[in-house]
Structure formats: structure tokens, C-alpha cells
């Protein structure tokens, strides 16, 4: 089985506990206006890689996973679009005793299999990093071009399974940082016991050049990076203390 890989980062320290090998998959159906990886959008493209080869590569990093309490994170792009590949990869990693984390927006494609594929994936996933783009459905649609419902539905699936989950929320000045929006995200944690923490991620502008390179108009040119002091006040450390 092959997957389409955008890139590999062997020394990730921001996407899950400990030192992570981060596999960025190619392809995403959402068009978030602040996306810092627009180069991962195209559903075709990327580099095809056999699951065997990738698993073999990942095993070489085990000494760092063990030393730091880390593991492998699959991110993207949207990894759920290549769920079969991720399931196969995570299955092998789990069998080898390596911690697996899935960084997703919850965009699970419609399947008529009674949830078996989703079940298969989640059964080999140790931690989900769930990106909530916006708690308000209209604002979500305006920000991403997609419905908020899919993320929330996915979160419910995770709750049913009691799967440890960190919520991740990008704080964009003027777009996602209103007090009601922040409060809604906090409530999600309170109502979902499987959510062990929230990571508030500051919006940054280091991805804009990729939009320019691709010739896609960037609609947030005037939006400044998130204010550091504001971020400090939000920060909730509970997420990274738990696996």
C-alpha cells in the first residue's frame, strides 16, 4: 500500500508529546484562509511511498521516541483522506510499541461501512490532535469553505471511544479570537472528558510566501500575527502533560 507524502520532519517537538517524527501527507479538501501549508492542498501530487518503506524509516528513530516519550505524528494535508494508509502505518507502529498521534481537522469522508474503517483507524491511534477551526458554523464556513459539523461529529466519535484528544485552535486576531469563540472551545473540553487539553496556536505569517509562490490570493494580508501577551494569557498547559 502506498501513501502520498508531502514531506517528512524527523525532529518535531510541537505536534504531540516528546520528540515526534512528523509525516505530512499530501491533500486537503478544506481551504482555510490562514493555512500555512497550501502546498499540501492538491489531492494528487506529493511523493508516493510504500507503507513498508516509511515504517522502516520510522523505526530508525526509536531511540529518540524512547528517550523523550515521543513517537510518530501523521499530519498534513488532511490524513483522514488517506485513512487506509494511516491505519496500516499506525497498526505497525502500535505493534512495535511506538506512540501514534493523528493531527486532523476531522474531515472524515462519507463511508457506507457502518464506521468500520474509522473504527480500524482509531483503534491504532493513541492520541488525536483535533484542529477546531471555528466553533461557529457560519464563521467556520467563511474561514474554511467547509462545515464545522464534521469536526464536531468526529469529536463525538472520539468521546465515544474515550480516545485521548488535544484540541488545537489557531488564534487569528479579529477572526477567531472573540471571547465567545474562545469560551466555546473551552466548553468543548468541559463536555468531552477525553479531551485532555487545548493547544492555543498563535497565527503566524511565515506561510504567506507559499501562497504567493503558488499565485493564490491571500486574504489575510492585513492580519497581524497573534499577540504574544494575549497567547500567554490563553495558554493551558494541560495538553502537553498528557498522552
Amino acid at each position: 500500500m502506498t501513501g502520498r507524502i508531502h514531506s517528512l520532519e524527523s525532529f518535531g517537538t510541537a505536534d504531540g508529546p516528546g520528540i515526534r517524527f512528523v509525516v505530512f501527507l499530501q491533500g486537503c479538501r478544506w481551504r482555510c484562509r490562514y493555512c500555512h501549508n497550501p502546498d499540501t492542498w492538491a489531492l494528487q501530487g506529493g511523493k508516493e511511498m510504500e507503507v513498508d518503506a516509511l515504517f522502516g524509516t520510522l523505526l530508525r528513530y526509536r531511540s529518540w521516541f524512547d528517550a523523550s516519550g515521543g513517537g510518530v505524528t501523521v499530519s498534513g494535508g488532511e490524513p483522514l483522506l488517506q485513512a487506509a494508509f494511516v491505519t496500516e502505518l499506525f497498526g505497525r507502529l502500535k505493534h512495535a510499541g511506538i506512540h501514534t498521534a493523528l493531527d486532523t481537522n476531522g474531515d472524515w469522508p462519507e463511508e457506507s461501512d457502518g464506521g468500520r474503517k474509522l473504527e480500524a483507524l482509531l483503534s491504532v491511534t493513541d492520541l488525536v490532535l483535533l484542529d477546531i477551526k471555528h466553533p461557529d458554523s457560519e464563521a467556520h464556513l467563511a474561514l474554511t469553505g467547509a462545515e464545522a459539523a464534521s469536526t464536531l461529529h468526529f469529536l463525538d466519535c472520539l468521546r465515544q471511544r474515550s480516545l485521548p484528544t488535544w484540541l488545537r485552535y489557531v488564534v487569528v486576531p479579529g477572526l477567531t479570537d472573540s471571547p465567545p469563540a474562545i469560551a466555546s472551545i473551552r466548553r468543548l473540553k468541559d463536555t468531552h472528558p477525553n479531551v485532555t487539553g487545548i493547544q492555543w496556536l498563535p497565527y503566524h505569517r511565515m506561510g504567506i510566501f507559499k501562497w504567493h509562490e503558488a499565485g493564490i490570493p491571500y486574504t489575510l494580508e492585513e492580519v497581524p500575527a497573534a499577540d504574544a501577551a494575549f497567547m500567554d494569557r490563553l495558554r493551558d498547559n494541560s495538553a502537553e502533560d498528557s498522552r
Binding site: 524527523s10 525532529f11 516528546g18 520528540i19 517524527f21 530508525r60 528517550a67 523523550s68
Partner: protein, 745 residues
């Protein structure tokens, strides 16, 4: 032997009846499992003294890098009257000359270089001295050039072998300075006399005659050291009676050694754990407080930071930042399973808080995954604040070198007092590859350097054909390199022997001959390009291949890709096996390092375009690093590539410089501290050997380039060494900045 109170309350052992410092340490070691909270603040005395030094250091930098030179006196053990910075503030005394930062003239390595160096800084060496070292007393430099073959001179001139220590001291020797503190010179002299009278009373072959003469010289050097002690009011004949004396005895022995020779990288060894035993005894008996203990270490470090040699400006271009490489090895594990981190290990690192970051002394942590967690976290803290520690894998070195070895220079391990090394230079591997393509002609000048052969004639490079040529020329190179080193070290022993340093070694010392290679990643990538793409030769009017066109992508060293990493390891194995075919002077054991300090910039300047796409004159990567910008998979992939290089073939060290922005280590301080230790644990579990970690950001460096005065102490670790950033040339600064940053986005 009368030792008085000097050994009182020490646990006894074999060390009492024979010279065995290791035995003393093992019997008396107190490992410290706790954290750094016991450490004391800086004393007023130290702070005032360091403030005075800071003024002098500023003046030195403002004056072009040299404060003053004593041109009248030939440097030697106790050659100068006592010198002080401010006697009332100094708890450790002794300077190379009569004033701080005043450099001495040492012509034994070479008079020409001494004259040029003095002249470059507006001073002239008196005619009597130049006359003495031209007509009456031969120098090492003259000796070497009287024996060099034409081949050697050509190789040297073209830069295919660079950095040969043929004009100044060879360096890289670690005297066991602890012996003077533990035993006093009287006992050491008696032991050397016994070696002369018993061990060396044998058939007088060349080696025996040479060694007898050397041991006699060593005894004289120990007497000279006693005189140096007297100059400062100490009796070094007797063992040190307390911690303050132990620090002083060690320092004066080191000082005498660097007065005698001006080699680089004459390291101080592994003194912290030894000194800890003395400090612990005095602390227990109430003779010393923690504050006073720290003051002794702070003041010792101040003294080491003021050591200087007179060099020409182009030495600075090659090695960058007027370095000495006074390396102190910290931590590590004992053979019996205990760790050797002591309170004094902490005290040494704590000097960085008191005196600020500095390249000297070159603090080196011998890292083991089994070191206590508190110490690992403290290292992380200090590293992240100063970028001033290098880390080496004790777990890969201990099997070969035991638990009382030290690092000289950046990565060269030696058993202290038992091993020495004949250091020398590096072979520029990319240039060798180009010579192989061009029939032995230099790609920049067209000059015939290597034996003439048929130049590579095809339009496209065929990897196997090129490899065959490369390996054939490597045979010639390796033989020439060994023979050149043999010549150099024969003459160095003869005309510029380090009497005092060798007096602090066993007489039957084991010798290494340490070879080096530069540009490994360039050559590895070049062969990868030939194997996986089409590389077309571009020739000039005279048929010389001067450039290459590459069509396509190819695997690059530093991305954990076996297709290029394994051939790179093979290159290393091949080179050392060729070297071993030519016997080394005094039956030395051949070793190899993949280490370039900042000299990778100069090597690159002297090398034409290479088949990996590197342009003419572009710097090589430092040490065993991947080429800048070619590591696409992050830091750990690079570490994995490096870990595939065989330490057994590179016993003199495999150096990696890793530049990290602080946020690349983690999102919060506590995660950064954990990940820092895990980064090292992981690499060293994979068998990696050495890493410098610069925790910096690009903006800091760019700002430092524009405003050096704002960052007077910004220290950069570059391949096995830390330098003050403002001592680098602007080309070197630019190079540091362009080096890959592994930034978390």
C-alpha cells in the same frame, strides 16, 4: 616518600606507590546525584577581577586582536618574571609573560612565522633572536623543509593537504597536570630517573637513544617547572596540600607547558573530578566554603581564558577566532558503573554564569545515557543559554579509552598521561576527486600536483569509472600524507619537543598519528549525483574540467538515505585502510577524524566546482555535516546519517555541528530541557560520536553581524569548537548564518 598532610584522609590504593591518578580518582570519587541548587554566587573579588579582564579583552579586540607582544624574551618554562592582573584580587596566579594578554615569542616551531606575526601587529623581533634561530639553532620549520620532497611541497601548496603543523607547534598533547598536584615534582622526577636507569638501560638503538635524551630533557623540564613555582612563591616539589594548592599546581604546570610550546589544542585534560576530591576534603573539614570553592574554579577559568599565542593573521583566517582549544572533559562514567559527575563538574559549568559564555576553555561533556537526569537538565539549561558546551559520546569512547581519558582539541580522545598524538592536517577529499578527474592537475591553476595520468575523457561522469580513478589516486595521497606527517613529527620531536607535557606522560607512552579528511559530504554527494543523475563535465580551453552540469535529483548525505550514507561510510573506511599501509613514525597508531573547525571555509575557497553542484570557492560543510541546505528531513535524519559513519575507522572523531533555534527544541522551557537531553541520548544510542549544539536564531546572528558591539560574548559552536562570533571574519559569519537552521514552523 614523605607526603606530609597532603594525602591525609584520602582513601589509599595503588596510586600511593606508583603514578596512577586514575586509581586515586576511582578510590576517592564522590558522584553528585543532586541538582545545581548548592552552587554559590560569584564573589566580589572574582567579579572585579573579571571586569578588569573585560577591559583588557576589549582593548585587545579593538587593537586588531593583539594587545601587546614581548619581543625581547624567548618563551620557555619560567622565561618571564611573575605577572599579575591585580594581585590583590587573584586567588590563582600565573601569566605567560609579565602582563595579562601580552604575548610571548616562541620561535622553536619556526622563526619566520614568529617574525611575520610580530610584524603584522607592528612589532619587530630583535636581530639577535632571528640570528640565533637562523644560524645557530635550527627550528622545527627549517628541519621540515630541509627534508620535504617535491611531492610534499606541491601537495601542501595546492591545498590538497592543508593545515600541516610545520611552522609552529603541533599541539594536541595533554599533559597529566594532575600528577604535579598529587605527587609533586620531586616524586615525578624520581620516577623518570628510574625509567632512565632501569627501563631504558638497554641496547642503544635509535629509539632508545632518542627516548633517553627526551627523558633527560623531561627531568630538566620538571626542574624548570619548580623554578616557575618559585617565581610565584610556591614549592611544587611537594604534593598540593589543599584544594587551593591543587588548583594552583595544575595551573602552573599547564602554564609552563604553554610557555614552552605554542601548539594549538594543548588541552588541560580531565581535571574537574580530580579537583573535586580536594575541594570535598576541604569543604568537609571546614577549611573552605562553597563560595570559596567556586571562586577557585572561576579564577582558574579566568586564567585559562587569558592564554594567548602569537599567530599570523592568516592562521586566524584558517581557524577563526584566535583559538587555543584548551579542552576540559567533564562527566562521563566510571568503569565500575558509577557516574563521574561531581559538584565540581557543576562548578565548571557554573563559571559560564559568572564569567559569561566563552570559547575557552572548551568545555566538553562526556555524555552517557546513564548520566544523572539532574545533570542532563543542567547541561540543557547551560547549553540553551550559552551554546558553549560540546557533547561527546562516552559510551562509544569508554570501551577504547577507559574512564580516565580526555579530549584534546575538539574530538580527539586520549588516555591521560598514557596516550599522545602526532596531529596533522586534513586531506581535502573534494580536491582529490578533482585531481583524479584532471589527470593530477590542479583544477584552479592547471599545475601538475599528483602524478600525471590520462585525464577523464568522457562527457558524462560514470560513477564506477570515477571511483576507480579516485581510489587509485587515494593510494598515492595516503602514502604521501603519512610520509609528510612522519617528516613533520620527526623534526618536531627533534627541534621543538614538548618536554614538560611529555614529562607528565608515562615514558612508554602510546602514540597516535591523527589524520583528517575535509569535505566528506561533498564527495559523498558527488558520487551520489554521478550514480543517480547525469553529470556533464564542463571543460576550459586547456581541457581542464572546471565545472559540472547536473540533470536531475539525487540522494544527499544528511537525510538518512542509505544510498548515499553507506557509500560515505565506505569512503571513510577506504581512506583509513590506505593510510594504515604506510608505517607511521615511532610506530604510532593511525587514526582519522572528520573534523574541520572553521577551516571548511578556506578549504572551499581553494577548491573548484564539484560534481555535487557545489560551485567553485563555496565553503564545504564543517566536520561531517551535510552540505548547507541539503538536509531536508530535519535534525534527527542528519544525526542518523552521521551515526552510520564508523567510529572504529574514525577513532579521532566525527564532528557534527547542529544549529537549533530555541523553539525547535519544544514549545515550553520544561519540554525543551527534556528534549535537549533526549536529543543527545537518542543520537548517542545510535552510536553517534560528537555534537555541538548551537541554540540560536537567525535574527540574533544577523544582528550580531551588523552590530558586533551589541553581542560581545555571543558564542557560536562550529564543528567541534566554540568561538566568539565577533572574532569571525564576515565570510565566516555569513557561513554560520547560511548553515541550515532546523526551525520549528
Amino acid at each position: 616518600m614523605e607526603t606530609g598532610m597532603a594525602w591525609e584522609s584520602f582513601a589509599g590504593g595503588r596510586w600511593q606507590s606508583e603514578t596512577d591518578v586514575r586509581d586515586f580518582i576511582v578510590k576517592n570519587l564522590t558522584p553528585h546525584d543532586g541538582d545545581e541548587t548548592f552552587l554559590a554566587p560569584v564573589t566580589d573579588r572574582t567579579a572585579q577581577l573579571w571586569a578588569q579582564c573585560a577591559v583588557l579583552l576589549d582593548r585587545e579586540l579593538a587593537g586588531g586582536g593583539v594587545l601587546d607582544i614581548d619581543t625581547e624574551t624567548i618563551s620557555g618554562i619560567n622565561s618571564h618574571p611573575a605577572g599579575y592582573i591585580d594581585k590583590s584580587l587573584e586567588t590563582v596566579v600565573g601569566l605567560q609573560t609579565d602582563a595579562p594578554l601580552k604575548r610571548a615569542v616562541n620561535p622553536f616551531g619556526g622563526i619566520r612565522l614568529a617574525v611575520q606575526a610580530a610584524h603584522a601587529y607592528g612589532k619587530e623581533i630583535p636581530a639577535e633572536i632571528t640570528d640565533l634561530f637562523t644560524r645557530l639553532r635550527r627550528t622545527h620549520n627549517d628541519g621540515v623543509f630541509s627534508a620535504y620532497t617535491q611531492d610534499m611541497k606541491r601537495a601542501r601548496k595546492s591545498g590538497v593537504i592543508t593545515g600541516l603543523p610545520d611552522a609552529y607547534g603541533r599541539g594536541r598533547i595533554i599533559g597529566d597536570y594532575r600528577r604535579v598536584a598529587l605527587y609533586g615534582t620531586e616524586k615525578l622526577i624520581a620516577a623518570k630517573q628510574t625509567d632512565l636507569d632501569v627501563m631504558l638501560d638497554r641496547d642503544m638503538d635509535d629509539e632508545t637513544i632518542r627516548l633517553r635524551e627526551e627523558v633527560s630533557d623531561q627531568i630538566q623540564a620538571l626542574h624548570d617547572l619548580e623554578e616557575l613555582g618559585k617565581t610565584y612563591g610556591f614549592n611544587l616539589k611537594k604534593p598540593a596540600a589543599d584544594a587551593a594548592e591543587a588548583v594552583q599546581w595544575i595551573y602552573l604546570s599547564f602554564l609552563g607547558s604553554v610557555q614552552e610550546t605554542n601548539g594549538a589544542a594543548n588541552s588541560i585534560g580531565r581535571i574537574s573530578t580530580f579537583l573535586d576530591i580536594y575541594l570535598e576534603r576541604d569543604l568537609k573539614s571546614g577549611r573552605l566554603s562553597e563560595t570559596e570553592a567556586q571562586e577557585l574554579i572561576d579564577q582558574l577559568i579566568i586564567k585559562l581564558r587569558l592564554i594567548r599565542h602569537l599567530r599570523t593573521p592568516d592562521y586566524n583566517d584558517l581557524f577563526a577566532g584566535d583559538p587555543l582549544w584548551i579542552t576540559e572533559s567533564l562527566g562521563g562514567m566510571a568503569q565500575d558503573g558509577r557516574h563521574m559527575v561531581t559538584r565540581t563538574t557543576y562548578r565548571f559549568l557554573h563559571t559560564l554564569d559568572h564569567l559569561g559564555p566563552s570559547a575557552e576553555p572548551n568545555l566538553t561533556v562526556l555524555w552517557s545515557t546513564r548520566l544523572p537526569e539532574a545533570f542532563k537538565r543542567y547541561c540543557a539549561k547551560v547549553s540553551m543559554a550559552t551554546s558553549t558546551i560540546q557533547y561527546e559520546n562516552d559510551d562509544v569512547m569508554r570501551p577504547d579509552y577507559g574512564d580516565d581519558y580526555g579530549i584534546s582539541c575538539c574530538v580527539s580522545a586520549m588516555r591521560i598521561g598514557k596516550d599522545m598524538q602526532f596531529f596533522g592536517a586534513r586531506c581535502n577529499l573534494p580536491k582529490l576527486l578533482l585531481l583524479a578527474l584532471n589527470g593530477g592537475r590542479d583544477e584552479l591553476t592547471g599545475e601538475q600536483i599528483a602524478p600525471e595520468s590520462e585525464p577523464y575523457a568522457d562527457e558524462y561522469l560514470d560513477a564506477e569509472k570515477v571511483l576507480k580513478r579516485f581510489l587509485a589516486l587515494q593510494k598515492w595521497m595516503a602514502r604521501l600524507y603519512v610520509n609528510t606527517m612522519n617528516t613533520i613529527h620527526h623534526m618536531h620531536d627533534k627541534y621543538a619537543c614538548e618536554r614538560l607535557m611529555m614529562a607528565l606522560h608515562d615514558t612508554d607512552v602510546h602514540r597516535f598519528m591523527a589524520f583528517g579528511i575535509a569535505g566528506l559530504s561533498v564527495v559523498a554527494d558527488s558520487f551520489s549525483a554521478m550514480r543517480h543523475t547525469y553529470v556533464r563535465c564542463v571543460r576550459d580551453g586547456g581541457g581542464l574540467i572546471t565545472d559540472f552540469e547536473i540533470l536531475g535529483e539525487f540522494p544527499k548525505f544528511g537525510n538518512d538515505d542509505d544510498r548515499v550514507d553507506l557509500p560515505a561510510a565506505e569512503l571513510v573506511r577506504g581512506f583509513i585502510s590506505e593510510l594504515r599501509k604506510s608505517p607511521a613514525y615511532r610506530s604510532a597508531e593511525h587514526t582519522l577524524s572528520i573534523l574541520t573547525i572553521t577551516s571548511n571555509v578556506v578549504y572551499g575557497k581553494k577548491t573548484g566546482a564539484t560534481p555535487d553542484g557545489r560551485k567553485k570557492g563555496e565553503p564545504f560543510a564543517p566536520g561531517a555535516n551535510p552540505m548547507h541546505g541539503r538536509d531536508m528531513m530535519g535534525a534527527l535524519a542528519t544525526l542518523n546519517s552521521l551515526a552510520k559513519l564508523p567510529f572504529a575507522s574514525c577513532r579521532d572523531g566525527i564532528s557534527l555541528t547542529l544549529s537549533l533555534m530555541p523553539n525547535a527544541l519544544g514549545t515550553e522551557e520544561r519540554f525543551r530541557l527534556r528534549n535537549f537531553g533526549a536529543l543527545l541520548d537518542g543520537y548517542f544510542l545510535q552510536g553517534g560520536h560528537h555534537v555541538n549544539i548551537n541554540v540560536l536564531d537567525r535574527a540574533t546572528l544577523q544582528d550580531a553581524m551588523a552590530h558586533p558591539e551589541k553581542h560581545p560574548q555571543l558564542t557560536i559552536r562550529v564543528s567541534g569548537y566554540a568561538v566568539l562570533f565577533n572574532r569571525l571574519t564576515s565570510a565566516q559569519q555569513q557561513e554560520v548564518i547560511s548553515r541550515t537552521f532546523h526551525a520549528a514552523m
